[in-house]
Symmetry: C2
Subunit: 214 residues, 2 copies
DNA sequence: CGCCGATGTGTACACTGTCCACTACCTAGG
DNA sequence: CCTAGGTAGTGGACAGTGTACACATCGGCG
């Protein structure tokens, strides 16, 4: 019987084993269904089979738990982006590949927002800062954060010659803002009622716009 | 002594006069400082000088109040956009004016996000739908919603010949998503730490991108 | 004038975040 | 091997929240 198994059912030991991780996992699950507002300390401890106050050994307060869950969600976003990139193999043409790499970042990002709106909203429900955009806590399984994946794509674009170095600086902001906005508007902004094909189409046009306008 | 004055201090009448409006106003004030999460029924009733349950005569639950406050915030955003437009008088050149009109929508939108982050977040904290984007509840003092202001700007762009009609369809989504994303990232996303000039610069570049890429 | 529907009050309950004192356990040092 | 001390989890308590239910008050309409 592994530690995980022991932790998930009624445990026999006094110590939990990985309560911090269990609380975050519970938080992710609640966020998946109800967004950031659904993250509730007492419910998380209940799911971890532990008394409410045990959470305070690992998180200063609810906001600290929310922050940890939010970081985890960003990591999941990174995973989704990488999954999209894996689904679009390179062709060998450096320029085309670089442009595709940037496009897949956007596609994966939007896909994550649409597939996991609760997690997406949670990821951005907590004030952040550029200095922390590279924090390993926000990274996916491959150790890269969404911001890093975007930066890499833009670097590749410059390397291939498809983007002038003068236009490279801070291009992250433009690309990110564009795609982020679409994600937000699609999941609970005015674009919510749109059919899937319509969203697909809008996504393509948006990415075209970035491609052309960057 | 006006109704407003009577309502704001300890009232003498049993009836409040405009409790619904007072609760929304209180909600806006709380949202201004603490965002959507700070909107609290009991506190709103306290500020209105009324018992907690009185709110339930006017709102089904907290979410209903939140929704009403959110709509009001959208109206305030519309006002801020119109203010920006008023600050950029027309030149007489139809093409230049149309492009400026679109740009001022973006500028006003971002300005609102930066000046009133709490209200901005509140405006988009409630799931919405395109069918309600024109609802008068979301309109500013001139009766237009932000969405309508954007649509008008795009129409002007087509009329002036600066935008091909084929590209007009659903262009709202692209323009809105772009600017909305920047707003979100600036107020509590990774772009938060940026200095004002940096944000100004990013805004200009973003609007250039839309102008070029639409 | 009297009644009735709309508006506000009072009481109550379940639930939350979080503080405090306490307990069970693990482990390093003798 | 035993003990001291820190770490992790428990139990009880409190203030504050959303909200249901029954009741009080009042303005306007017949």
């Amino acid at each position: 019987m592994s530690d995980d198994e022991r932790a998930s059912q009624s445990r026999t030991t006094y110590r939990h084993g990985d309560l911090r991780g269990a609380l975050i996992a519970a938080g992710v699950e609640m966020a998946r269904e109800g967004g950031p507002r659904a993250i509730v300390i007492r419910e998380a401890t209940r799911r971890a089979g532990v008394s409410p106050n045990a959470a305070y050994r690992h998180f200063a307060d609810r906001d600290a738990l929310l922050k940890a869950v939010s970081d985890t969600c960003l990591g999941l976003a990174a995973d989704r982006i990488e999954q999209e990139q894996a689904a679009h193999p390179k062709t060998g043409d450096a320029v085309a590949d670089a442009r595709l790499q940037l496009r897949t970042v956007g596609l994966g990002y939007i896909a994550f927002a649409r597939e996991e709106p609760g997690l997406f909203r949670t990821a951005f429900s907590v004030p952040d800062d550029l200095r922390q955009a590279l924090s390993p806590a926000k990274a996916g399984v491959n150790g890269l954060t969404p911001f890093q994946l975007l930066s890499l794509a833009l670097d590749a674009l410059v390397d291939s010659g498809a983007l002038l170095p003068a236009r490279r600086e801070n291009a992250e902001f433009l690309a990110w803002a564009t795609v982020h906005g679409l994600g937000m508007l699609v999941i609970d902004g005015p674009l919510r009622g749109l059919t899937d094909p319509m969203i697909d189409f809008a996504t393509e046009r948006l990415l075209d716009m970035v491609d052309r306008g960057l």
